[in-house]
């Protein structure tokens, strides 16, 4: 960093080269050293602590691509303006002590195509479909051989990131607010092209720089902290994040109906049939579009979106949000009075859902060889309890004898929740003479509870475990009661 007058300048340039040999490589391809090389540079400039500028670049080479596609250039720029340091702000700065506006734009690259496919520009030969045997008396066995991955002309996947932010402090710095808007436009995402008909006969669909995803989001934090009189300290904080990634291109075949369309919709948007309820009686089934399998009253009745008289994949439409919450927020506080302190922090998510599916969820799967009966199975449609307001439709043996367990809105449940993540209380004893005898400098008794309570409409398992059958290891509730002794 060089400073002369009001100018602050710094610069740096780096050459880097990595050569990593995986000593535990499990196959031939991963035993080849992993190599990258590149130059990176950075310049920062500040003027009068009011205007800030930063520029970075990376010129990176990766082993994964053909020689003429190997290098990628990834620049980035940042600008900052500390408004509160301007002369015209002097009057306001008593109220707003700090105000900064900043923005940045930059590109980053990704050269990792997939875990198993390192050298995209070379075709891979594998075992093909299978081997085959000939021979009259003795079997003459041949292993199979065929192209397993086709050579493709790929290069760096790029993400252009834009960020605009505002930082503000007010009320004698007691209150601080940070708000950011971010945007990430990923282009050339490594994807297998998915628009090749099967009759072309490819062993695997080739990769390409094919995907485009736009991600937009807002992120904010508000913190407040103050002292009241001599003994009270109060602080509170809250944060929230909202973001939505949208598919702009996915190298997939065009969908025949607009409701099937993935482009323009959220990344990881769920699709499925739309459940209208459960069939009430045979007549209801007769008068409804054809559904495959053995269909009886109590089975899920689906909506025929394209009106062709049968339920199939043409009737699959967006259902629910997805497994990843779009909205994450939190809020908490701490209050202390003399030696006593009390605090709590809540976390919440929204725009998320849980899809019930999987072996452990379906009763009598594979005709009783697999499957599971959860206690909710008692909450089902039966001829004696022909209720629509149940978790399971009519049970069948085996479970796959009709469309009940197809992906559908029936199995999508609201996954939003608010969780009391931490709850904390403590008492620090005032200094007493007997401290010295024991060599103590402080003594604190505390209680901390983690994951104390969850408020959600979803009751079948810990809602944060998400999709499936609730068979993952659940988040633990823990309560700690402790004594903290500090010695001199």
């Amino acid at each position: 960093m060089n400073s002369f007058g009001k100018h602050d300048i710094s610069g740096m340039i780096l050459y880097n080269q990595t050569d990593f040999v995986d000593a535990r490589a499990g196959d031939f391809i991963s035993s080849i050293p992993f190599r990258n090389q590149g130059i990176a540079g950075r310049v920062t400039y500040g003027f009068d602590t009011r205007y800030l500028l930063e520029a970075n670049f990376g010129f990176n080479g990766a082993e994964n691509f053909a020689p003429d596609k190997r290098y990628g250039f990834f620049p980035s720029f940042g600008l900052g303006w500390v408004v509160s340091n301007e002369k015209f702000f002097a009057d306001i700065s008593k109220v707003i002590t700090f105000l900064k506006v900043r923005g940045s734009y930059g590109k980053v690259g990704n050269n990792k195509i997939s875990d198993s496919y390192r050298f995209g520009y070379i075709a891979q030969v594998g075992g093909g479909n299978n081997g085959y045997a000939f021979g009259r008396n003795n079997e003459v066995w041949y292993n199979g051989r065929d192209i397993s991955e086709y050579a493709v002309d790929v290069s760096w996947e790029e993400a252009a990131k834009t960020n605009i932010g505002l930082e503000l402090k007010t009320l004698n710095n007691d209150l601080s607010i940070v708000v950011d808007y971010f945007q990430e436009d990923r282009t050339g995402i490594f994807l297998r092209r998915s628009n090749v008909p099967l009759y072309v006969g490819l062993r695997s669909n080739p990769y390409g720089n094919l995907g485009v995803i736009h991600n937009r989001g807002v992120d904010g934090t508000v913190e407040y902290s103050t002292s009241l009189g001599k003994n009270w300290v109060i602080s509170a904080r809250t944060n929230f994040t909202w973001n939505r990634a949208v598919i702009i291109d996915d190298a997939n075949a065009a969908w025949p109906y607009p409701w099937q369309q993935r482009i323009g919709r959220k990344l990881n948007q769920r699709f499925g049939l739309i459940a209208l309820g459960l069939f009430e009686d045979e007549k209801d089934i007769e008068n409804s579009p054809y559904q495959t399998g053995i269909v009886k009253p109590g089975d899920i009745k689906f909506k025929d979106l394209n009106g062709d008289g049968k339920i199939d994949s043409y009737d699959e439409a967006p259902i629910g949000y997805g497994a990843v919450p779009e909205l994450v927020y939190g809020a908490g506080f701490n209050i202390s009075w003399k030696g006593f302190a009390f605090g709590a922090f809540f976390k919440g998510v929204g725009n998320v859902d849980v899809r019930l599916n999987g072996e452990g969820f379906q009763p009598f799967q594979l005709a009783g060889d697999r499957g599971n009966l959860l206690q909710e199975v008692t909450n089902r449609w039966t001829p004696d309890n022909p209720s629509q307001n149940v978790i399971y439709p009519r049970l069948t043996y085996p479970s796959n004898e009709n469309m009940n367990y197809n992906n559908s809105s029936w199995w999508i449940k609201n996954g939003s929740f608010i969780r009391l993540q931490t709850l904390e209380a403590s008492y620090s004893l005032p200094k007493a003479k007997w401290f010295d005898k024991g060599g103590l400098s402080g003594l604190r008794i505390y209680f901390i509870g983690y994951n104390v309570a969850t408020f959600s409409k979803f009751k079948m398992w810990d809602v944060e475990l998400g999709d499936g059958k609730g068979a993952q290891y659940p988040l633990l509730k823990s309560f700690n009661l402790g004594v903290e002794l500090r010695f001199k």
């Binding site: 990258n36 081997g131 085959y132 192209i147 628009n195 075949a253 065009a254």
Partner: protein, 587 residues
């Protein structure tokens, strides 16, 4: 000055980076890796590529999760509802949930075959060791397999997409991939033409022991003979049901016109196989017709075998079909419909024979199973039958009663719901308990079928002028089966008087002779009888604990039929990508 230092340094770095030594840093394509070009320069690697092509010839031993061609008909009930045959039987299938879908897999075989044909020329090692003749033979083998795959698609999905002699580039624009389906007749012509051309190149018989199982001239001609028989059949010859089955440009995919000459062509093609004089009906040395009939499939590479698959799942078939006492899974239940189909030992159907009775017992055997034809005993296990095989070391009686050694049993799903088990092509030498596996080729085409094809085609073409020839081949089948023949031999039966009577006899003969050999699924479709055949199947009452409760005809599992089932649907994935494809009718 620091600035200057930086720029000097930068310049040095760029120099390093751009120097060739550094560029090579990222050039680390392993030298010892086999590239696809190298595969076609070496003999072993090329033969392995060809083996991969061959591997797309589907084995037919597994009839529960790999093939539906027995379990989704009226001849067999696969007892386990967990297997996909059950899903077909209850009609729980559609273009997105499609068990037994082979569309994509077979087209991979087709592409690999084409790739092989286009790249094997000039293979120096083969040229040096075996000469051009071997390369030509291998190319013909790949072409045979390609035709076999096309046929497998045609018979299951109807009109196919024909790709020709060039592979499509994986990175071609999507528009280049768009190919419409060819009509049924065009598909047949293409496959038959390919088989004609390879028949001229392929050897008549394997040159060495190690070549058994490779495609031969006879295999090519026999496959063609089967295809032409299918093409002449009622479903594809004069069937008006598909008048509206058209490509997007209006091209009709299945002609409604009837052409008698199709039968003639089919007859000639089958006769051509017979006239090769390379094959003969298998007969056991003992002359016992039960042993003869069982040996067709169990005695490896006997003279009746025209084409077979050396590695297959037949030992799994053994285990799935064997009774529990033999160490089997007890689950391949022959249906009552199939039991009823077998003739009596006088050569007559049960409805006509005076020997048939459903009353009483003879030597503890229910009279329903007494005096039946040898093929029945070779093919079906029933209650109280004496049997030896698998882990039953000394012959003993089977017990299919509820609670019996081979019947329904508390706590297991492994029991036949029909009260019968298939015994055909089940080797007594496979024993799951001791880990013995009797591997043998899976016979895919055999002379017996060709005889039946020939008789059927001749009868349909012109019964009156071909009667002698038709009877000759039907009688050859019956003679080997050990039952009286029509119009000749001991206890001769009357000659069927009309074409229609003869048709019934031929179809019944075929149903019996080729039972459990993956024919019924296709035969009931091409004969347009599936609607009548695909009704709930029956068996004895497996819940019965004694004879009076057990020996009662009982409905066992459903068999659904919708007109759409005539063909498999193309997978939805494919319909979404092949923009010129039309879905099969009714799907």
């Amino acid at each position: 000055m620091q600035f200057r230092n930086i720029s000097t340094y930068t310049a040095v770095v760029f120099l390093i980076l751009l120097s060739s030594g550094c560029k090579k840093f990222l050039d680390q394509v392993p030298d010892d890796r086999v590239t696809i070009e190298e595969v076609f320069q070496k003999k072993q690697a090329s033969e392995e590529y060809l083996a991969n092509v061959y591997s797309h010839i589907r084995e037919q031993g597994n009839q529960w999760t790999v093939n539906p061609f027995s379990g989704n008909t009226d001849e067999l009930d696969v007892t386990w509802a967990k297997y996909s045959t059950y899903q077909l039987n209850i009609g729980s299938w559609n273009p997105t949930s499609l068990p037994f879908d082979i569309w994509g897999e077979q087209y991979k075989g087709i592409r690999s075959a084409t790739y092989f044909i286009n790249h094997i020329d000039g293979n120096e090692e083969i040229l040096r060791l075996n000469g051009q003749q071997r390369i030509d033979q291998y190319k013909a083998e790949a072409r045979f397999v390609r035709a076999y795959c096309y046929f497998a698609l045609l018979r299951q999905y109807g009109p196919i997409v024909i790709l020709g002699n060039e592979e499509l580039a994986p990175d071609a624009p999507t528009a280049d991939f768009q190919i419409p389906r060819s009509s049924y007749d065009e598909s047949v012509e293409y496959i038959a033409g390919q088989l004609d051309s390879v028949a001229a190149v392929l050897p008549t018989s394997p040159a060495e022991d190690r070549d058994y199982g490779r495609a031969t001239k006879g295999a090519a001609l026999a496959l063609k003979a089967r295809i032409l028989l299918y093409a002449a059949s009622p479903a594809f010859n004069g069937n008006a049901d598909y008048a509206n089955f058209k490509n997007q440009d209006g091209k009709s995919l299945i002609s409604g016109a009837y052409d008698t000459e199709k039968w003639k062509r089919a007859a000639d093609a089958n006769k051509a196989v017979i006239d090769l004089n390379l094959y003969a009906l298998y007969k056991h040395a003992s002359g016992d017709p039960v042993e003869s009939y069982r040996g067709i499939l169990l005695d490896a590479y006997n003279g009746e075998n025209i084409f077979s698959r050396r590695n297959n799942n037949l030992t799994d078939w053994d285990v799935h079909s064997m009774p529990r006492a033999a160490g089997g899974w007890c689950g391949m239940g022959a249906t009552q419909e199939m039991v009823d189909a077998y003739f009596m030992k006088d050569g007559l159907p049960i409805t006509e024979s005076s020997l048939y009775s459903e009353n009483g017992f003879t030597d503890d055997i229910y009279n329903m199973y007494v005096n039946r034809e040898p093929r029945f005993y070779a093919s079906v296990n029933y209650h109280n039958r004496m049997i030896q095989g698998g882990n039953i070391i000394t012959a003993r009686r089977l017990n299919f009663f509820n609670g019996g050694t081979d019947g329904r049993y508390e706590g297991t799903e492994d029991y036949s719901k029909t009260g019968y088990l298939v015994w055909k092509n089940v080797s007594p030498n496979t024993n799951r308990i001791t880990g013995q596996w009797y591997n043998r080729p899976n016979v895919l085409i055999r002379l017996g079928e060709i005889y039946l094809n020939y008789a059927e085609a001749l009868n349909e073409y012109d019964y009156n002028s071909n009667q002698t020839e038709i009877l000759k081949y039907i009688n050859l089948i019956r003679e080997r089966a050990g039952i009286p023949q029509y119009g000749t031999g001991p206890d001769a039966l009357p000659i069927p008087a009309t074409q229609s009577e003869m048709r019934d006899k031929i179809r019944q003969e075929r149903r019996i002779e080729l039972a459990f050999e993956s024919h019924r699924w296709f035969d009931m479709r091409r004969w347009k009888i599936a609607r009548d055949v695909m009704k709930p199947v029956h068996g004895m009452n497996c819940n019965g604990k004694d004879a009076s409760a057990f020996f009662v005809r009982t409905e066992v599992t459903p068999r659904q039929w919708r007109d759409a089932y005539m063909f498999y649907p193309l997978p939805q994935y494919e319909i979404d990508r092949g923009r010129l494809l039309v879905q099969n009718p009714g799907w």
